[in-house]
């Protein structure tokens, strides 16, 4: 297996446990979504794979190597584009590969892939939110990472832009054959894009379902199979969300 999460536990200050004994294996070239309500630890898990958060217990391995810190073999795209405002678009994409000889050509290649060649000399604040996020994707791809980690990358965008970027991401994925681990709270988004949807529950955070989706792409929203699957996931998550609500309300009752 390519990316292996073994009995991973994450707790903060050894008190609050986000999740414990979590196991997950991901094959190469797959598009896998982590789906769940807020608080289930899906973003934390992604940060752990990125090496930004430590693993309290257990281990995470990528290509048989244990992950201990952040590194360029894992590209990450955040909800916020997180581009450097003092650099122009092309310099941003070149940031992680600056020391390589072909940095400029690589940057140009990936900017072309996200259709932003025309804006390579612009500053990032001159670009729209969707364009900035495309630059962030190009920047992550330019390092040629083994896996692309995406943390609700389209969460802050408007509906139309999100749909356009879904299509672009699908094309990029088919072109580059990257393994993608994609965190989202949108059931539709997860089902539309992924080979596999891992559904996480909360309190404690854990994996409650694992769907392999082989509906042919491009997937339409009104496709019968898509709707069926959506309903199934929705029912699963509804129970989780009710659990959170109940717990919050009972806390409220104490005061």
């Amino acid at each position: 297996m390519f990316l292996k999460i073994n009995n991973a536990t994450k707790s903060f200050d050894n008190e609050f446990e986000v999740f414990s004994d979590l196991d997950l294996t991901i094959e190469e070239n797959q598009f896998v979504s982590l789906l769940g309500p807020s608080g289930c630890g899906k973003s934390t898990l992604l940060s752990m794979v990125a090496g930004l958060e430590s693993v309290t217990e257990g281990s995470i391995e990528l290509d048989r190597q244990k992950i201990t810190k952040a590194g360029p073999d894992r590209g990450m795209v955040f909800q916020q584009p997180s581009l450097f405002p003092w650099l122009n678009v092309k310099e941003n994409v070149m940031f992680p590969i600056k020391k390589q000889k072909d940095a400029e050509e690589r940057a140009e290649k990936f900017l072309k892939m996200v259709h932003l060649s025309r804006f390579q000399n612009n500053y990032t604040h001159e670009l729209s939110g969707g364009m900035q996020q495309r630059v962030a994707i190009a920047r992550a791809l330019a390092m040629d990472p083994k896996v692309l980690l995406m943390d609700e990358p389209f969460g802050a965008l408007d509906e139309q832009t999100r749909h356009i970027l879904h299509e672009e991401l699908m094309k990029i994925w088919q072109e580059t054959q990257k393994t993608i681990l994609f965190v989202t709270h949108s059931i539709q988004e997860a089902i539309k894009l992924s080979d596999r949807v891992v559904v996480m529950g909360t309190r404690p955070g854990r994996i409650i379902a694992d769907f392999h989706i082989d509906i042919p792409r491009p997937r339409k929203r009104d496709d019968e199979e898509v709707i069926k699957l959506e309903r199934k996931v929705m029912d699963l998550l509804e129970g989780e969300i009710n659990k959170v609500l109940k717990e919050e309300l009972s806390h409220e009752g104490i005061y």
């Binding site: 090496g51 930004l52 952040a70 360029p72 450097f84 992550a140």
Partner: protein, 252 residues
Amino acid sequence: MKVFIKRLLFLLAIMGIWQIVYYSNVFPDIAFPSLIQVFGSLINGFSDGDLIKALVASFKHLIIGLSLALVIGTVIGVILGKSTQADETAGMYLIALQSIPSIVWVPLSILIFGFTEFAVVFVVALGGTFVMALNVRSAIHNVPPQLVRAARTMGTSGFSLFYRVEVPSSVPYFITGIRLAWAFSWRALMAGEFLSNGPGLGYSLRFAQDYARMDQVIGIIMIIGVIGAVVDQLVFSKLEKNVMKRWGLLKS
């Protein structure tokens, strides 16, 4: 252009009122010179070289003092910004020191360094150091954590993270720091020179006071005001605006 005309008309009106007051003889000549006397003393001062010498000396004090302030302030600011330990220990005192008016340092400086030019430079340096340090400190505290996280996922860490992300991200605050340090140093310079044994613009001002030359006093005040405004508007405001725009902090 319209703004320029408005400003010019306003200035002419002030000058007109000035001359009316002068001719009304409400104040004695010695306390209220005419504009012609003021400009006359300025022309005299420049043509016999006294004012030029004073200006050169003042700028020398300012450049040395401000440079010291910027270097020392940046070092202190980086230390306090990077180390929580240092910040918790000394950060509060920095704010206290910043609130001390620079003229307060003059007696201390004269007692340590005597009536030397370095005593003035010392006051100028103190005037700018603390404000610079405070700005550099907030610059580092305000580096967006999101950018640091992003850089780390690209394999950047340690010193490389500092100079490729934290330093450029700090530039707008840094420029504001320089601008404020200049403004504080300029005020400190006048205070220091005023109580010094010269040379310098502040010293010339006191010299004029000692000889009851109100025309010179007003002339020198004008020079101080014009230099302050010109440097701030033409150099620092423009620089700051350009940097803010470039860093995307200003909607153009």
